[in-house]
């Protein structure tokens, strides 16, 4: 009994670290993008200030029950993913609640938040929210296809659906990483990761200049605070998922921070270099190259 409480406390500590690292990482990335544009950019502590401000706004209005539940579902999706992904391999407590079938559960949780958000933003009633949602769901559906193919490929390769076992199979040197043992699956997943992080070529969902803000158009005050909190968690946890599946996992916090930073940086790097796709272009893009690579990755292991 004590053991499970201790584990819960460590999981909460892990959540706290992941949240703060996510906020810091998003600030660093915004600074990098600003430097590319020749600006100084925001101070590194700006995301925390924004959060404090959002949570302490004096008024908030609601459009109905689903409007309340939207951010809650989104946060539920993010924290749910966090709970089942092992953060540090070999650590007794920071492996969270990883169990033998967690890979399938994670794939499900990825969509869970999106759907909750769609219901909530739909009740907000703003036309831009609806456009944003339909674009977001269309794009994410096509993102999921190559990602799922890559995941199936490595599940077949390692003969397991447990993330911890997949990480365990990659220990003992850089050449044991899935990156080298299954480069096709890695390529398909890293391309679909661009869509999962929704940075520049695929950021039409929020498209600040076209459909202002997108799905969260009507969200404000603490609602938006919850969404931003979740974004910080989700960015790190998606990067950690990819780190676990393809880049050998992490055996300590420093390794986790470095690898998750580099994985997130990959999407920011592509975003800085390439301009934004239209929605039909991005949907078509995911169904071409990444899809073919994903199918090849499966054919090889059958």
């Amino acid at each position: 009994m004590d053991n499970i409480i201790l584990k819960l406390l460590f999981t909460l500590l892990g959540l706290f670290i992941v949240l703060n690292w996510g906020l810091l990482m998003s600030a660093i990335m915004q600074k990098i993008v600003a430097r590319v544009a020749g600006r100084h950019g925001i101070p590194f502590y700006q995301p925390w200030i924004d959060l404090i401000k959002l949570y302490t706004k004096r008024t908030a209005i609601t459009h109905g029950i689903m409007f309340y539940l939207g951010p809650v579902f989104r946060l539920g999706g993010g924290v749910g993913m966090f709970l089942f992904i092992p953060l540090i391999y070999g650590s007794e407590y920071f492996t969270n609640f990883s169990w033998s079938g967690d890979l399938i559960l994670i794939l499900y949780f990825q969509f869970f938040g999106m759907l909750g958000m769609a219901l909530g933003a739909g009740e907000g009633g703003h036309p831009n929210s609806v456009i944003g949602i339909s674009r977001g769901l269309a794009q994410f559906t096509t993102v999921e296809v190559p990602m799922t193919l890559a995941v199936i490929s490595i599940a077949v390769q390692y003969q397991t659906l447990s993330i911890t076992e997949i990480v365990a199979a990659q220990q003992g040197g850089i050449l044991n990483w899935t990156l080298f043992t299954n480069p096709l699956a890695t390529a398909a997943a890293m391309l679909s990761l661009l869509g999962a992080f929704r940075h520049a070529p695929f950021n039409l969902v929020k498209a600040p200049n076209e459909i202002p803000i997108g799905p969260p158009t009507e969200y404000h005050s603490s609602f938006l605070g919850v969404l931003r909190t979740n974004n910080a968690i989700l960015h790190v946890i998606e990067a950690v998922l990819f780190m676990n599946l393809f880049f050998g996992g992490a055996t300590n916090w420093f390794e986790l921070i470095l690898k998750s930073f580099l994985i997130y940086f990959w999407s920011v790097f592509v975003g800085v270099v390439f301009p934004r796709f239209r929605i039909e272009q991005s949907v078509a893009w995911f169904l071409k190259v990444p899809l073919v690579i994903g199918i090849l990755a499966i054919i090889i292991f059958i």
Binding site: G38, R39, Q46, I52, K53, T56, K57, T217, E218, H220
Partner: protein
């Protein structure tokens, strides 16, 4: 002041958009009922004064509010051309925590950039009221102070603070982006000192502001407060 609200009498059909007119609808179960969109679809509650609770906590929160100014991207006059340069490498307002937001719900600052036509005033009021408290108004240019070069125009307002509580004026015709940045810093000082309570002022003197607004906006076809 007695004739201020006289346009409430003829507010009925002339200016109302088609979807806002009273009409009879047949529900999915076959029952007929009458709807009045302005009453049924919109919340007509008046805004309330929200006093700061704890002095020490409020001081910290005000610091956070001052360092995170989200500006509504709403240009009303020629001054709006001074806002885009703020985001460029030369002026880079992001250093000061100033970010642009595209929706009034998420913004905390509205910049009235230059002359305000009566037609625009109506939209500005709607946007301002949709912003969440605490919210700040930054008036840019001479036109917002006394009408500027449009002082005798037939369709622009002269003094902005008759219609909404202004926190900071930036004088000039037109003020350069540097002046706007200085205005932001002045606004920050004001927020940190706890003096930027425009939203509460608006709620307190709500009737006075509404009377002034209705005096100048003849085709008033929206609820009294746009939640």
């Amino acid at each position: 002041m007695s004739d201020i609200n006289n346009n409430t009498n003829n507010k009925e059909d002339k200016f109302l958009a088609e979807e806002n007119k009273k009409r009879t609808v047949i529900g999915p179960d076959g029952i007929e009922f009458e709807i009045d969109p302005l009453k049924d679809y919109f919340c007509d509650q008046k805004p309330e004064v929200r006093d700061p609770k704890n002095k020490v906590v409020e001081k910290f929160i005000n610091w956070a509010r001052a360092e995170s100014l989200w500006v509504l991207g709403f240009g009303t006059g020629c001054g709006s051309i001074e806002i885009p340069p703020l985001l460029t490498p030369r002026f880079d307002a992001a250093r000061f925590g100033v970010q642009m937001r595209a929706t009034p719900r998420q913004s905390s600052v509205i910049i009235i950039s230059g002359y305000l036509a009566v037609k625009t005033l109506k939209r500005v009021i709607r946007s301002y009221e949709q912003m969440q408290s605490p919210k700040y108004v930054l008036a840019l240019g001479s036109c917002t102070i006394n009408g500027g070069m449009y002082y005798d125009s037939y369709n622009t307002i002269n003094r902005l603070d008759y219609y909404m509580p202004v926190d900071v004026y930036v004088a000039g015709c037109m003020p350069r982006p540097e002046a706007l940045l200085a205005g932001f810093n002045k606004l920050k000082e004001r927020i940190k000192a706890g003096r930027a309570e425009g939203a509460n002022e608006y709620a307190e003197k709500f009737d006075w502001y509404k009377a002034n607004q209705k005096k100048i906006i003849k085709d008033w076809n929206m609820p009294d407060y746009n939640w």
